[in-house]
Symmetry: C2
DNA sequence: CGATGGCTTGAGAGGCTTCAATGCCGGTGG
DNA sequence: CCACCGGCATTGAAGCCTCTCAAGCCATCG
């Protein structure tokens, strides 16, 4: 089945890298109802503690999930790029435990939980696929814990850039490339548990080692192999096509309809 | 329905705090097949990269999920106590992206993925409940990112102790109490992104402020209110009983069977 | 052209680490 | 019953990585 031109396409493409779905199931996902919304930079579109009734798919721009300490210390716990369902988990735990904020001008597609529930009740394979998406998000966060907890600032920054590069390119890496990444140094700092001052210095360190450049709104990878080596970056946790797809399916009784 | 005496009871109790399940569904979970296994302290029972075929329920003891940097730097990304299904997510992503290690002598119940898949294919509500468990685990990790990224060592340690206290007591808190927690200071350090030397010093700081004591294998909370205030601990991310339980259920067509 | 937001750079302070030695305690074997 | 042993906890001193504070710069925008 060919994706057409819905905002849901990018999401479906990502899902299909990890879960095997029939044409009917794919069509069902693509026909999910949604309402587009433009969010200006620095605005929260999900607030902490709120009762959420929609899941948010990032269509363009960049969004961050924020936790915070008492004294205004903000920490980004996840970054979401176009094609990510930033909020899929809220379908299953509607009370938001953290805030979602647009880091730059962002458009989102809001999908009613109701529709998601109808979908997964009807298609167990889709339920499993969505469950899997949430598990992959958790694996990414697990890697962030390691990154923040146990790596030096320079390696930390390099690792984040590798992850974002890998996610933007869906794993199709080459030696040297550029991608747009509209996060400020302050956003990077909040993602890394550092200050923006120190992020700035580390950017210069990486640049002077010839590994990468960070400019306003974009990142240039100069040498992917050296960089990912330096960053201790191993993309396995992003669970892409290499891993077996739903290996049990064959042995399941076909219950759906 | 009354829990009887299976290792699965504790797990079911936790699931029921977050998901509404019928008697039949509860019975189905309790009749999941499993094989008990004793793991000695410091031994990995799931290795990184391994293809996993079972999910592990912690029955007694304490287990840690480990990520690691290049130079032997270990970072614990999750702690699992009795009643936790440490590995539920592996049912949906069988390639382990991190290792599971027994921190002390631990007994686990290994549940075949096959059985889990059969269960969730038959009972959509259970699929949703298991999905929700994974989402809660992710919420805990999200809080760890904030903790490690943005809080000082003393607050960080206090926060972890609050979390573990809350989880051991399933949220039934009192002013002053003791609970056994068989982690070493080294384990705490690996959970907090600190060194064991510094954890030791912070323990003494907390003790001299009269907030808590940490002894070999146990933690004593001296003043829960003051401690959780100091730790910036807000248990919302752990509990979902306040929030509506699977609010969509009523409106779903009853498809199962 | 002033205002704004982000980036850059410097100097000093401090929190945490590193290294290293000592102390404690439970277990084990003679 | 005691001596030894190994793992963990404790303590000190020195150093470094990162933070804080503060100023200057540069582009963009009204």
């Amino acid at each position: 089945m060919m994706p057409n031109d819905t905002p849901l396409d990018a999401f479906l493409v990502k899902v299909l890298r990890r879960s095997l779905l029939t044409d009917e199931e794919q069509r069902a996902i693509l026909s999910l109802p949604f309402r587009m919304e433009k969010i200006e930079a620095q605005r929260d579109f999900v607030r902490m503690g709120e009762q959420v009734t929609h899941s948010c798919l990032i269509v363009t721009g960049l969004a961050g999930r924020f936790g915070q300490g008492r004294e205004g210390n903000r920490q980004i716990t996840a970054l979401h790029i176009p094609g990510d369902m930033a909020d899929l988990h809220s379908a299953v735990t509607p009370q938001a435990t953290s805030a979602l904020q647009a880091l730059t001008a962002t458009t989102i597609a809001k999908i009613p939980h109701q529709a998601i529930h109808n979908l997964v009740a009807r298609y167990p394979d889709i339920a499993e696929a969505f469950w899997r998406e949430c598990v992959v998000d958790a694996a990414v966060m697990s890697e962030w814990v390691v990154n923040i907890g146990r790596r030096s600032a320079a390696v930390r920054l390099a690792h984040l850039c590798c992850e974002m590069a890998f996610r933007y390119r869906l794993g199709e890496m080459v030696e040297h490339f550029v991608f747009t990444f509209p996060a400020t140094q302050h956003h990077l700092a909040d993602s890394l548990g550092l200050t923006s001052v120190h992020v700035n210095r580390m950017i210069r360190v990486l640049e002077s080692s010839g590994l990468m450049k960070v400019r306003r709104g974009m990142i240039e990878i100069l040498d992917w192999d050296d960089l990912s080596e330096f960053a201790e970056f191993d993309p396995t946790y992003l669970v892409f096509e290499d891993s077996p797809r739903t290996p049990m399916r064959a042995s399941l009784p076909a219950l759906q309809n």
